[in-house]
Symmetry: none
Subunit: 259 residues, 2 copies
């Protein structure tokens, strides 16, 4: 059943309510978008299609669609069609600029230092093999450090890099990215996932909070220009002490060539 059909089904269901036709239709479309039956970038059936299938005049359809265009949830292109507008959530991803830890701390006038927890070569875990594309005979370099601001521990950062790229973890200075860049392996893109977890005993002790307290769990995968995965980092932040700030911006209709 196509998304378009679902709209019509919804329309018929909500029918005979006495309300103006264009309001019924507007609500049906609105819900279809809201439930994700038709996602951002997807095309609506043409005004004429909707009109004939719903057996109402095209101008009435148009009135409903126009309202939603004014409301910003639909976008129309003359000669082309009507499309679902990009959502806030969608724009978040592409345009968000997460302020970095050090930037943020510096702005607050806090001193930042790191304490090494671990630097060495290990046999890779299944996770690491998957993400970094390693075989079980290769080694992985693990780098773990505790981030401390104003003598308060704020985060634990654990990075995994293929040993072929970083054969000597001990040689890293203060910046992992500088070390990678010097061997010509500078990441140009990264994908981050943020979730929340209750801190385990070990991590809680390091961050000097009681076990079970909420923490931000962040996984980041960095890519080279070639598309190869270069680094895999898992960090845990104290939820009470750190805020991630993101600025979002809404833009015009995006280019979606592929359904």
């Amino acid at each position: 059943m196509s998304a378009a059909d679902q709209i019509f089904a919804m329309l018929k269901e909500s029918s005979q309510s006495g309300a103006p036709l264009y309001l019924q239709l507007r609500k049906s479309i609105e819900e279809a978008v809201n439930r994700g039956l038709i996602g951002p970038g997807d095309a609506l059936p043409s005004e004429r299609d909707i009109a004939s299938k719903a057996d109402i005049s095209r101008v009435t359809v148009r009135k409903a669609v126009q309202d939603l265009v004014k409301g910003g949830i639909l976008v129309q292109r003359h000669g082309s069609g009507t499309f679902v507008a990009p959502r806030m959530e969608r724009v978040e991803q592409s345009l968000s600029r997460l302020t970095s830890f050090t930037e943020d701390m510096a702005r607050r006038g806090m001193s930042v230092r790191s304490v090494w927890l671990d630097r060495g070569l290990y046999a890779p875990s299944p996770d690491e093999m998957m993400v970094l594309g390693l075989s079980s005979t290769e080694l992985v370099a693990r780098v773990a450090r505790l981030r401390v601001a104003n003598d308060t521990p704020l985060a634990i950062e654990r990075a995994a890099i293929s040993a072929s790229v970083l054969p000597d973890p001990e040689a890293i200075g203060s910046s992992l990215y500088a070390a990678l860049g010097m061997t010509g392996n500078r990441p140009v893109r990264a994908v981050q996932r943020i979730s929340a977890t209750n801190l385990g005993d070990a991590d809680a002790r390091l961050l000097e909070v009681p076990p079970g307290v909420a923490g931000l769990h962040i996984e980041r995968i960095s890519y080279l220009a070639s598309g190869k995965v270069i680094e895999f980092t898992r960090s845990v932040y104290r939820g009470d002490a750190y805020d991630f700030v993101a600025e979002l911006r809404l833009t015009g209709p995006g280019e979606e060539s592929r359904p």
Copy 2:
């Protein structure tokens, strides 16, 4: 049976679907590559061959092929032919398409719906007065809803809007932003803060998890083009069920170290 013939077979099968010819053809070629019928480095039949065998114009064939070239799946060499791109180039393509939460849910066939928890006018809290710039004699419209995916509660969303902008919260359809936009108060920018908290009793009960479990706490302030604050939303997501995904672009050499 040659690889080329398989494409044509696939094309005929998928025919009469009403979709534009070049889309049908593009899909057929894409599938042939994905199934490995034609591997990296292999040559496609010439545009003219495809055109005559499929009995469509060469320009239409070209349109389909061009799209795949832009997508990095095919490579063309003038005077030589069209070839399937080496795999490395294609990895990035698939990875650069991040799926948002709602998109993800929709793709997995999950239904996303909302349950209203509250819609009404109230005397503003100190927080709300500060952020929205209200005086103590003005009212604030509060809109709260529970977001549910596949009968699993995922988030609680509480929005506060000045009553002068949204005098009748009951009249909101399924989308708050559409309601705001239709009155000419469409937000164009937003700032978000993400942190982690342990869920309180009330929120935990709504989200159907034990109290004290970690949750993502997101505060968002939306601005009009004029710079005026239009909306203030506080949301709590189940930490175990929601991932906030962000793509970062790392630019310029010698960037500062990141969190």
